[in-house]
Amino acid sequence: MISVLVTGATSPVGERLVRSLIADTRVKHVLAVGFEPEDRALPFSHRKRLTYLPVDLTRGRKVRELLFGPARDLECEVVVHLAGNSDPHDKGRKIHRYNVEALRSIMDLADRHPTIRRIVVRSFGVVYRVSLDLPILVREDHPLNLSPSAPQYVRDRVEADLTACARMGLANCEIVVLRCAEALGPGTGSQLYDYLDGPVALRPAGFDPMLNVATVADLVLALEKATHGSGEGVFNVPGYDTLPLSECVRKWGVPALPLPGALIKPLYNLRHAVTGSNFEYGLNRHRMHFGLVLDGTRARKVLGFVPSSPVDWPMGGPIN
């Protein structure tokens, strides 16, 4: 029986993970952390196996108080770090502190913590570089997007990923980094979901790249496997569905409008300005030309994770 600390617990993935851990007989207690006040967070029955705390992870002292306070008292052995900003238009030092420095603090503190022995970090497929001279099928050794011109959204994710990877084998606790495919769902931070959520999907004319999409259920399954597993490393977490962008759009039931790439970015910028949509074409431009599919072989062999939950496509039905 272990106790687990979950950061970002009020996100869709976090909430579902907490539910799942509470139902897991191998878990003694879940310490859930989020931004929201207690009365608005995690509205479900927990039979005294869940403690929720609103904590501002951008403040180092709060992180210290969390880890050497409730986390130590509850004898948390595993930290599942899901906290991170999901809007690519947000920028600045505070966002960086939330995306990167919070994880760095957790790792620094965990190294001398009396009970924490394992940290599971949720990373993202967006950390990988997409280019025409790189493979479509991406393994964990694929080059990362270290472009200085990448937006903060990407740079923060890459930095957080590398911060975790750099400590593997050196820290006193085991570190697992899961580079997850996008989960199609509201509030998951999925760029593809925000793209499909519009009235029309503009896509680069003449290009139809292969994509891989996941569900929240599969990401939670992978996080659970990593929580209970042993050893450390970096693992891709692909989803069940691998399909071309055009099929994705069709199955979602949104009309597609192929346009020259140069026109798409200003139109999505306009959409962001008018509706506040999170989709940022510049972030996805290469992926919408050349594609990116995560190879989950390593996660299958080491963690025993196999994606098993297909996306519930609104316009599902026959493939053709």
């Binding site: 493979p135 003449g206 569905d241 053709n320």
Partner: protein, 281 residues
């Protein structure tokens, strides 16, 4: 793609006939869940490609092939061929020939130059028919999955070679042999006779880095001449039996293996040139 698989299926049924549909239905490919493999191949588009290539294969280039039984029916393998002709019709004819002459039908996975991925429509249609961009990671994944790679070690310099250089192999890249040794894949040398005369080149205009395409060829004819293609398959070179996977790291071994493949392809070309009765026959 601008149209869906069922439209590709309808076109191939209408114009390709039952043989094309039969091949598409018997095609073995690793379906990633929605009818496509992870690189974008779809059997209905393979049938469409087969249909589009048929008039060229049967009527225009009147392809004759020799030794297709030497292509392994299962497991990873590499077809290494000469490359020429300004337009990649040789790749299309070789792809069609392998598809038609293997039983059960195998879709060879042509490994294309990077710039192909930047071409609208073409890149997508090619991907649906099995073409992959020439990165090491793509080749590795396909060989590990037991696929048949189609590689032109001369690359773009081969397809744009001047007419005076016909049937003279250009600089022969070595990556295919490194892959063959590392992933235990036999190499089948292929000599394509005919393509080197299909579109004689007058010159070429460098793009100066403004495009992913290295240069624009200036051919003497607007369309390929109706030369007859002769495709000769050689005996598989079992590098996988002669070397261990670790030998792929030895540059000398890889160089020597590539030289052997080059000699085998050159020998097939010379044999094919001796056998044919004329450029159009």
């Amino acid at each position: 793609m601008p149209f869906r698989p069922r439209i590709a299926q309808a076109i191939s049924s209408l114009f390709g006939g039952p043989a094309v549909r039969d091949r598409a239905e018997r095609l073995h490919f690793p379906d990633a869940g929605h009818g496509y493999d992870r690189f974008g191949l779809h059997p209905d588009f393979v049938a469409l490609g087969d249909t589009i290539a048929a008039p060229m294969y049967e009527k225009w280039f009147r392809v004759k092939s020799y030794g297709a039984e030497k292509i392994p029916t299962t497991g990873p393998a590499i077809l290494a061929s000469n490359h020429s002709g300004t337009l990649p019709a040789d790749g299309m004819m070789l792809w069609t020939d392998v598809l038609r002459r293997t039983d059960p039908p195998r879709t060879p996975r042509p490994v294309a130059d990077y710039f192909v991925a930047t071409l609208p429509v073409v890149s997508t249609l090619f991907a649906r028919c099995g073409v992959v961009s020439g990165s090491r990671g793509n080749a590795r994944a396909l060989l590990e999955a037991g696929e048949l790679l189609m590689i032109f070690p001369e690359g773009t310099p081969g397809i744009t070679k001047p007419f005076s250089q016909r049937y003279k192999l250009q600089e022969w890249r070595k990556g295919h042999c490194e892959l063959a040794i590392r992933y235990n894949a036999p190499v089948v040398p292929v000599g394509i006779v005919g393509a080197e005369e299909q579109m004689p080149q007058l010159g070429r205009i460098p793009t100066g880095g403004f495009s992913a395409i290295p240069h624009i060829p200036v051919p003497a004819t607007l369309i390929p001449l109706p030369v007859r293609y002769h495709i000769h398959y050689g005996d598989p070179i079992r590098l996988d039996q002669e070397y261990s996977s670790n030998d792929a790291d030895d540059p000398e071994i890889v160089r020597e293996a590539a030289a052997r493949v080059k000699v085998a392809v050159q020998a097939l070309l010379e044999q094919g040139l001796r056998m044919r009765k004329g450029i159009f026959r």
